[in-house]
Amino acid sequence: MEPRGDEQPKLPPPSLWPVGFAVGVVCLLVGLVVSWVAVAIGAGLVLIFGFLWARDVVAGQREVAALPPEEPAPQAPAVPAHVGEPEPGERFPRNKFLEAATLGLGGIIGGIVTVPAIGFAVLPSFLKQHGHEVDVGPVSDFPEGQFVVATFLRNPSQGEISRRTAYIRNNGAVKGKPSFTCISNRCAHLGCPVQPGGPVFDDKTKHVKSGKTEVTLIPALPAAGFICPCHGGAYDQEGNRTAGPPVRGLDRYEFSIVDGRLILGNTYSVASVEGSGASAKIHRYELAGPGQHVDGPEAWLYPLQPPH
């Protein structure tokens, strides 16, 4: 790559051979579909015309190289540099207008395109986040004073990924009103599934129809409360934190009873529970994510919650 003194573009000399070359390529490609003979003819054409073309180009290069380098290039007539240019510091008003119009229109077009796209990317995470009610079967399936592990699809239209587990205990009726403890298995540390600290009686598993899906009910005896396998968080039978890293108690489900069936509603967060069973006093808060304090000064760190 020698530095070339002249600024003249080096045009290849005119040549008709590329036409033949192109015909050869077309013949070759068509031949691939049609017949091998055509391929051979095409390949021959490509080779012949390619060679002729290359010869032309090389000959042209040689001619350029053979030109005497001293030959002075025709000088363009000197144009006074300042003609048509504004005085230093002066600007055309139209210039400014065009600049502003370009930036402004560009900004408007960019905004029109970007705002809906970002809205589409961000807003669905925060809108239409309503909970789903789940029918977990007749109340008679929940013997008084015993925990039952209920596994169900929170939102059947989402499929398996919405499978949730609740630890449900029938506390019996208080003044004619039924009382249930419905503990969510989502650990209040970082959201792993807590496990019952005691035997789970798989042989007494029951499958209950619930709409188009099924709810699985397994009796359990969580004598040691609930324990998280991830980081060792431990809770008592009311969901109070007893050990480990969780910042509050286990979340609970709202419940209602319709036509003798237990319906689980939304979840809410619990700081702690005083007492137990039907007489428990639950310090209830709006649902917060795992690891977020709901009471005490640390709760000031989470003043706003996205819609749940």
Binding site: M1, S125, N155, G159, I161, L190, P193, G289, L304
Partner: protein, 267 residues
């Protein structure tokens, strides 16, 4: 200085270099690449200076293997894990490509930290290279996010629960945490869309950001030059003596001259 070349040899060289000349005249690319590859670096650079290139190589491996994996991977909650098993067990050499991508991810992160350690211990973050340190930290964060989003894709129990925990850790950030978590999981609860969301982030948005940041990082490296090690006898910041550019041909590197040249070509 060199022997006079025969006319035949000259003609041969001109013919061989013609394509490069053609490209150079129309794009200036050859000169740019040559400038990048044969720029001067301090004479006492050592193996520690290769950690950055090693990180770049690891990233390129991730790019290539990731694109190939995307031929076969299905980001659908029902079939994602099955497609991973298909890649690993059925497709020819699928286990190798997936293994390269999986272990290469760790290699990439580890090399980033080693490179960062080198830069820190050599004081290479100091004036005028502070901005490149900042870009490097952004690259580290972006790379870690790439790791987070990629970890969900096998969609087994480990992947799922690790992602749950990671999103909830984000959720504990003060003030913005709950919103950040909702944004990551695409709603109040993890749903079927999270996988596709992470897949898109993992293979489109985050790699794009990484490529852009790497471009900026390299631009600054080339513009500011490579630092000498702290034990270098050379005074920092000394300009090498001005000398006329050597005659060069194509991508061929000129023979190093024997005397008085500070610096040597980069690898």
């Amino acid at each position: 200085m060199a022997r006079k070349k025969s006319a035949r040899r000259q003609k041969l060289e001109r013919t061989a270099l013609y394509p490069l000349d053609w490209l150079e005249e129309r794009s200036g690319l050859i000169g740019g690449v040559r400038y990048f590859l044969f720029r001067k670096v301090p004479g006492d650079t050592n193996w520690f200076h290769t950690l950055g290139s090693a990180t770049l190589t690891a990233f390129l491996v991730q790019l290539v293997t990731g694109v190939i994996l995307a031929f076969y991977y299905q980001p659908d909650p029902q079939t994602a894990h099955a497609s991973i098993e298909h890649i690993t067990n059925d497709i020819t050499l699928g286990w190798l490509v997936r293994g390269m991508h999986r272990w290469g991810a760790s290699v990439f992160i580890i090399l980033m930290f080693l490179h960062m350690g080198r830069v820190f211990l050599f004081g290479a973050y100091k004036y005028p290279r502070e901005l490149n340190w900042i870009v490097g930290v952004l690259l580290l964060a972006t790379g870690l996010f790439e790791g987070l989003t990629g970890y969900l894709l096998p969609y087994d129990q480990t992947a799922y629960w690790a992602t749950v925990v990671a999103i909830n850790i984000n959720g504990t950030a003060p003030f913005v945490g709950p919103f950040l978590a909702s944004l990551l999981r695409g709603g109040a609860e993890i749903g079927p869309d999270v996988l596709a969301r992470f897949y898109s982030l993992h293979m489109l948005l985050v790699p794009g950001a990484l490529i852009g940041l790497i471009g900026l990082h390299l631009y600054l490296v080339v513009r500011l030059g490579v630092t000498s090690p702290p034990w270098s006898p050379e005074a920092a910041g000394r300009e090498p003596e001005a000398e006329p550019p050597p005659p060069r041909s194509g991508l061929v590197q000129p023979r190093p001259r024997a005397s008085g040249v500070r610096g040597r070509p980069a690898e």
